[in-house]
Each structure stands twice: as structure tokens, then as C-alpha cells.
């Protein structure tokens, strides 16, 4: 792997007070870099943006030469930029990676159709093979079917749980060694805060890891760990202009599903807003939160949930059955609210005992429905 810095990384002395790029000192400054507020030119922005990601990859030994790597591609801005930058860096620095695009089709009419189009275009543009795994194939249900069954509330739970597994299952089909996702610095800072707010010390200790699941079959890593969301937005604005239009229209749709009014945790939205306010006040705050997250003194005696495997599908799970199997079981048995939230009474006045009966019945019976015979 070529770890030498790219040409533009040399730092000529900055000319104070001028509107010239503070980095190269030659060209006119075109933007204020969100991460540092330095005024730099467009060319230098590409260089620092790509170079920082390269450094992250090299310093953390994310890949080995010859690795097969799946890029989790949602068609949103983060993963599209990741696919582009990673294929560029792979070529430029001779990482020797076999890159693939891996998309999940949740089956949401009008939402995924567009983004899958984007991913398909990426396939042609960057010459990366694409694999699309659909909820329909994996679980027998599309998200639209699920929403029909359970209504608009709580469908985020299904979508999130199913997507996490779908990516792993797709990656297994592609026989890759690693999955990379487009999680950026803002996402990680937000997760650190949320884990503090809900007192989840186990997750707090591992949410800042750049690579997770190293003991599992397919590790995941986040090359954008230190990359600001705003810079990811700026990058295609200049570099891959023709994509940006589609990207922008997609982000807004995605937000509704992730943080929308139906989201059970309103504080997730507050946290995101808080981070944006912080960034305005002190841009380095995002990196500082990540730094805090990395440095927390978490006692080695802290009890971590035991990682086991799902009895039914073999996917990693801390319980007897993985969350996806529990949810799927509920769907197939016409009890879609099984496995959502705590053991609250179910709609329609079901009493607790009735619910418990159903639960124990569920544990006894094997999955009989025609859908969802999934093996990992």
C-alpha cells in the first residue's frame, strides 16, 4: 500500500490577510473548510479531503492487499461519495482491493426506486460490480407490506434491524472480507452522545471503534470516521456535480425514515440538532466528542452483553433468537408488535398474561410460515 502523501500535501507558507488559499498560497480561496474554517481553494479541498481519508485507512490498517471489500451503498450522499473516493484511492495508492457495491432493497415504493437508480449509475460510472439484496428475497416481506401490517408507527425498528442483517447476508453472498459503511464523524459523535443519554456503557465503549465485528465473520469499518458530513456534501458539489442533484433529493426522504415524527426516540433528533449547533459554535467539537468517546476510561470489569448466535438463523445475537427472527416471527404470525419496545400491553386491550402466553408459544413453535426461512 502506498502511504506516501500526495503531491498537494506540502504546506507552503500561508499569506496572512489575503483571500488566497491558506494552503497552497497560489490560487484564490473558494471555500471555508467546515472542519477547520481555513479558507482554501477547490483543488486543495479535494486534496485534503481525500488525503485525510487515505491517512485514516493507512493509519488504522483498515485493509490488506487483496481484500474483497463491499461498500454498503444506500444511494445517499455518504455512501455514494465513499464509493467514489474509495475507488479513486484504491487506484491511486494501489491498495489492491476488490471493491463491490452492496445495496439493500427494502421495498419502499418511491423511496428506494430512485436511490437504487443512483447505485446502478454508480456501478457503471465507477466500474464496481453491484449486488442488490432485497427484503422480499431475504425475509419474504417488503417494507411496504410491513407498513401495511403494522402501520406507520414503529416501522423504523423493522427497517433498521432487517437492514443490518441484510447487509451482512449480502456480504456473505459476495464472499467479501470487509464491509465499509459511510458513517461519518457527525454520525459517530451523535452515537456517543446518545449512548451517554441512555446510559449504555457497553455501546459507549465500542461505538467509536473504526472497525467493529472483528471477531465475527465479516468486520465492518468506517473510513469516514473523521470526515465531517458538511465536507461530504461539499465534495460532490464540486467533484461529481451531476450526482449531487439526485443526492440532495434523496437525503430529505431518508431523514423522514430515520428521525421522522414516528421515531420512538425524539431525543435522537435533539442530539442531531445539538451537534449542528455545536459545530456552528466550535467546528472541532465533533472531533472532540469522538476523542472523548475513544478516551473514556471504561473499567475492564464492565459487564458486556455476551455475543452468541441466533438458534434459528445463525446470525450474531445476544439472545436465543436474533432480533430479526423475533420480528419476522411476529409478522408471519400476525402479531407484528412482538419484539417492539418493552413488554407493554398490546393494542386492542390484550392483557399481559395473554401476551406472555403468546410469547411462550412463540418460543415453542418453530417458524411455520412460508416466508422467512433464512439461513445465515
Amino acid at each position: 500500500m502506498d502511504s506516501s502523501a500526495v503531491d498537494g500535501a506540502r504546506q507552503p507558507p500561508a499569506r496572512a490577510g489575503s483571500r488566497l488559499c491558506t494552503r497552497c498560497g497560489e490560487r484564490k480561496a473558494a471555500l471555508k473548510r467546515p472542519k477547520t474554517l481555513e479558507q482554501i481553494c477547490r483543488e486543495c479541498f479535494y486534496v485534503v479531503f481525500e488525503d485525510e481519508i487515505h491517512r485514516t485507512i493507512v493509519d488504522n490498517n483498515l485493509f490488506k492487499s487483496g481484500d474483497r471489500v463491499a461498500i454498503g451503498a444506500s444511494g445517499g450522499k455518504d455512501s455514494t461519495v465513499l464509493a467514489y473516493v474509495l475507488s479513486e484511492l484504491n487506484r491511486r495508492h494501489k491498495y489492491g482491493l476488490d471493491l463491490f457495491l452492496l445495496s439493500v432493497d427494502e421495498g419502499i415504493t418511491g423511496y428506494r426506486d430512485d436511490s437504487l437508480e443512483t447505485v446502478k449509475r454508480n456501478e457503471i460510472q465507477y466500474g464496481l460490480p453491484l449486488k442488490i439484496v432485497s427484503y422480499k428475497d431475504l425475509y419474504g416481506w417488503t417494507m411496504d407490506d410491513i407498513v401495511k401490517a403494522i402501520g406507520l408507527k414503529n416501522n423504523c425498528t423493522f427497517c433498521g434491524v432487517f437492514r443490518r442483517q441484510a447487509l451482512d447476508r449480502g456480504a456473505a453472498l459476495l464472499k467479501v472480507d470487509k464491509i465499509v459503511t459511510g458513517h461519518n464523524a457527525d454520525d459517530i459523535a451523535e452515537t456517543v452522545l446518545l449512548n451517554i443519554l441512555r446510559g449504555d456503557i457497553a455501546r459507549l465503549s465500542r461505538c467509536t471503534f473504526i472497525t467493529t465485528g472483528e471477531d465475527g465473520p465479516i468486520p465492518r469499518c468506517k473510513p469516514f470516521k473523521y470526515t465531517y458530513e458538511k465536507e461530504i456534501v461539499i465534495y460532490p458539489y464540486y467533484a461529481i456535480t451531476h450526482y449531487s442533484y439526485i443526492l440532495m433529493s434523496l437525503c430529505s426522504t431518508h431523514q423522514v425514515y430515520s428521525y421522522g415524527i414516528y421515531s420512538p426516540n425524539a431525543y435522537r433528533g435533539f442530539a442531531r440538532e445539538f451537534i449542528k449547533d455545536l459545530e456552528r459554535m466550535r467546528p472541532r467539537a465533533i472531533l472532540d466528542i469522538i476523542k472523548s468517546g475513544e478516551n473514556f476510561r471504561i473499567s475492564t470489569t464492565t459487564r458486556m452483553p455476551e455475543q452468541g448466535i441466533c438458534e434459528r438463523c445463525g446470525y450474531i445475537s445476544s439472545q436465543k433468537l436474533c432480533k430479526a427472527c423475533v420480528l419476522l416471527d411476529g409478522l408471519n404470525r400476525g402479531l407484528p408488535k412482538l419484539g417492539i419496545g418493552r413488554s407493554k400491553g398490546m393494542a386492542g386491550g390484550d392483557s399481559d398474561s395473554e401476551q406472555q402466553d403468546k410469547r411462550s408459544e412463540r418460543n415453542r413453535s418453530s417458524l411455520q410460515g412460508k416466508h422467512g426461512n433464512i439461513d445465515f
Binding site: L197, F270, I289, G293, N295, I298
Partner: protein, 455 residues
């Protein structure tokens, strides 16, 4: 309770509160107070519940006992106050420190009672003093208002039945004496050199602690008691995280902090601000709000974020504090001196003696300004800068944590020398001593050392 009195005796019964009162009730309920007349869940007596604690409605008496119980438990179970101690209570006049004053005074009254009753009178009773740090130099409030606030504080302290040892009203600029005659000018100048609003506020916080330490040292106090409550600590947890101080965070959220010359104890760590305010109101404890310090920058942003979270879930502050408590504390977060626990009741002593003393040696390197312990990467940085250090200023800079470096040190490196020359000698003196002893040691062993570039 509020509903019953809402009609003002107009005779229309308790079921028809006017609209204004309904709105008031909603606010009151947010403050953790019950507006409906319900019986106390603890004593079951006739008294109506006025507050909620631990999911149970409590009457005024029980609520008070509940808070006092928490206070007393944290004092006794952490051996915060020994009979021989002289405790200096940092008193701002706000509800939290007001309650702390009331409770410690109560504990002292009881101790005096049992001392009177005991035959041997072998153990002395701890003493209590009160300190107020006067920051009027830096605030734009009219003099009259400040005088009033100080008068209020004096009258609050003098109203206590068992007298306190002394009330110390110390101007913040006193931290520069005796080395400087113009403390006020020096304080203004050094604060003026800090560009960042949050940095300014945090710097003043450090000076405040220094001021308390100074009062305690000069007047023979052995403990400093702070009124920091769970709500304040929750704010600190988030703002420290946001400032990148995740490593040193656990040092600031414990009951005991012995990294200062005079140890600091925080007995109200488990009480929420709203509960303490409510208690002040119920017991008509006089507080003063004239000199409330408005917070700025990141600290204010964090406070408003938490306020918003509380609307969604009133116990969020507790969860945040609990998360921070799960982090590993430092060796200085407990009393470990030999013989420290000798005065404790024999039933409590084994608890402290069984604590393993593996890391009792105090080896952390602390930031020159804020006193936060250095993380591994900061230590590495410090070592490498120290080796290259040419001037004393470089040494001082190396002894500042990354956060202080960013938000407190002036932005131009050429101002460092001036900045450090203005700081109280108490801070810079420590680095001088360390470096002097280091170089002395080096001189002694010089002939055995190999040059760095030899390997």
C-alpha cells in the same frame, strides 16, 4: 394542594381551578411537584404529597427526610467529614449550596447534641465555615445589588442556630495576592487575553477553585464542600465530552476529589436541582439570585440541550450522571492517606480498609490550569515537548491539557509568555518545582544517561 387553594376561598370547590392556575400547575408539575392532593406514599399520614421522588409522592416532611438521607448517606459512606475536620462550604447563595449549608449545619447540631450527652467527650465535633467568592469585578451589576447580595449571604449564615466558624467573603482577584498588589488589574488582563467565551468561563471556574483552596489553606480548613448537584454534574458530563475531555471526566463526577491540596467533597451529587429548589421553597430557605452567573458559549448550549431533554424525560439528568459514574475513577477520587479512616465508627472502617490499594500512589500528571489528568496521548505529547523545551514558557505550555490549550491559551503563541506571567504563582510554581527537581535529578545521574539519538 394547589387546586384546593386556587379558588381563594370563593367556595366553588376544588374541581374548578381557573385557567391561570391550570397553567401554573403544569409548570409546577414539571418542577417535580404534585399539584393533586394525594397522600404521602411514605408516611401514609394525613399530609398531602407535594413532591415526587423515586416514583412515590411524598409530603413535605418526607421529601425533606429523603433529601437529607441522600446527603447524609453520601457524607458517611464516603467518610467525607471526620470529627477532627474543619469544613469550608463553598456558598453561592443558590438553592443547592443553601441546602448543603442547611444539611451540614443540621449534622453538626446533632453531633454537638451527642457530644454534650456523651460521657467521655473524646471525639471533637467537626467545624463548619462558609466561603463566598465575590466576582463583582468581572460582572456589570451595580454595586448596590452586589452589596445587597453579600448582605443576604451574611444574614443567611447568621440565621443558623449553631454558629459557623466564620464567613469568608473573598474577592476573586485575591488569588493573585500576595505576589501582586493590583490583583484586579491582573485579573482583568488575564481574562482579556482569552478569546473563547467558553474558555473564559472555564478559566474563571478554575480561579474560583483556586480561591477556595486559598481561603481553606489560610484559615486552617481541612475539607472543601461543594454544592454541585446531579443537574450541574449532568451538564458537566456533556460539556466535558463535547470539549474532548472524555479521559479526565470521571475525575470530576465523584464524591471525593483529593487532587487539590485541600480535598473537595460533593455530598449533593445524587440530588436534582429541581428537588433542591423545591425544598428551599417548602422550608422557606432564603436564597440569593442577584449574582447568578449567566453561562456562555458551549456550556449554555449544553444546558439548553439538557433542558430540552428533560421535557421529554424528566429523569434524563440522572441517567447522564449514572453513565459517567460507570467510568473508572482516578486514584485521587478516594481518601487514601494512612490513618485517615481511624476516626470512623468501627462498623464503617472495614469497608474502607478492604479497598485494594494497588493504585494508591498518586502518579497522574495534572493540567496546570484546570487540573484534569493527562491522557496517554497528552502525556506522550508533553514528554516530547518537554525534551525540546527551550524556555520556561514551553514547559508551562507542555503542562496544559489539550482543551485548555485550545480554549484558554491566547491564540498567538507570542502572547504565551505574557499570559503565563500573569497566572497565579500557585499554578506555575508547581511546574517550576517539578522541573527544578527533574533537572537536579538529571544532573546527578547525567553520566549514566545515553543521548536520545544513540538508540
Amino acid at each position: 394542594m394547589a387546586a384546593a387553594s386556587s379558588c381563594g376561598g370563593a367556595g366553588c370547590g376544588p374541581h374548578c381551578p381557573p385557567a391561570a392556575v391550570v397553567a401554573e400547575d403544569a409548570t409546577a408539575e414539571r418542577l417535580g411537584r404534585l399539584s393533586l392532593s394525594r397522600d404521602c406514599g411514605r408516611c401514609g399520614g394525613g399530609a398531602g404529597a407535594v413532591a415526587v421522588a423515586g416514583g412515590v409522592g411524598l409530603c413535605g416532611e418526607c421529601f425533606r427526610a429523603h433529601l437529607f438521607g441522600k446527603f447524609k448517606l453520601s457524607v458517611t459512606s464516603n467518610a467525607m467529614v471526620r470529627p477532627t475536620d474543619s469544613v469550608l462550604l463553598a456558598f453561592s447563595g443558590g438553592p443547592a449550596s443553601r441546602v448543603a449549608l442547611q444539611f451540614i449545619h443540621e449534622m453538626r447540631s446533632k453531633a454537638i447534641e451527642s457530644w454534650d450527652a456523651s460521657n467521655s467527650q473524646a471525639l471533637p465535633v467537626f467545624r463548619v465555615g462558609v466561603a463566598f467568592v465575590d466576582e463583582s469585578v468581572l460582572c456589570s451589576k451595580p454595586e448596590q445589588e452586589i452589596d445587597m447580595a453579600i448582605e443576604d449571604i451574611k444574614s443567611i449564615v447568621s440565621s443558623l442556630s449553631v454558629g459557623v466558624k466564620a464567613t469568608h467573603i473573598a474577592p476573586l482577584e485575591d488569588v493573585f495576592s500576595p505576589e501582586s498588589t493590583d490583583g484586579e488589574g491582573r485579573l482583568r488582563e488575564v481574562v482579556g487575553l482569552i478569546d473563547d467565551d467558553t474558555g473564559k468561563e472555564d478559566f474563571l471556574q478554575c480561579l474560583r477553585m483556586l480561591s477556595l483552596q486559598k481561603i481553606a489553606l489560610e484559615n486552617g480548613y481541612t475539607k472543601i464542600m461543594l454544592g454541585a448537584c446531579a443537574s450541574a454534574i449532568a451538564c458537566h458530563v456533556l460539556s466535558a465530552t463535547v470539549k474532548g475531555r472524555g479521559y479526565s471526566l470521571p475525575a470530576d463526577v465523584q464524591y471525593v476529589d483529593t487532587r487539590w491540596e485541600i480535598p473537595v467533597v460533593v455530598p449533593l451529587r445524587d440530588c436534582l436541582a429541581q428537588g433542591l429548589s423545591l425544598l428551599c421553597e417548602l422550608d422557606s430557605l432564603k436564597t440569593q439570585q442577584h449574582l447568578d452567573r449567566p453561562s456562555n458559549g458551549i456550556n449554555r448550549l449544553v444546558a439548553s440541550f439538557i433542558e430540552r431533554l428533560l421535557e421529554e424525560n424528566p429523569s434524563r439528568e440522572h441517567t447522564i450522571v449514572r453513565t459517567a459514574q460507570k467510568l473508572k475513577p482516578f486514584s485521587f477520587n478516594k481518601f487514601s492517606a494512612d490513618g485517615y479512616h481511624d476516626f470512623l465508627p468501627s462498623r464503617l472502617r472495614p469497608k474502607f480498609q478492604n479497598v485494594d490499594n494497588d493504585e494508591s500512589t498518586f502518579s497522574e500528571i495534572l493540567c496546570l490550569i484546570c487540573g484534569s489528568p493527562f491522557s496517554e496521548s497528552e502525556l506522550r505529547n508533553m514528554e516530547s515537548t518537554k525534551h525540546k523545551a527551550q524556555k520556561k514558557t514551553d514547559l508551562y505550555t507542555a503542562h496544559c491539557c489539550q482543551n485548555c490549550h485550545f480554549q484558554i491559551l491566547p491564540s498567538g503563541g507570542n502572547l504565551y509568555e505574557h499570559f503565563f506571567s500573569l497566572l497565579p504563582k500557585f499554578w506555575t510554581g508547581k511546574v517550576d518545582t517539578v522541573s527544578a527537581s527533574h533537572s537536579l535529578l538529571r544532573d546527578q545521574i547525567e553520566e549514566y544517561l545515553l543521548e536520545d539519538n544513540d538508540d
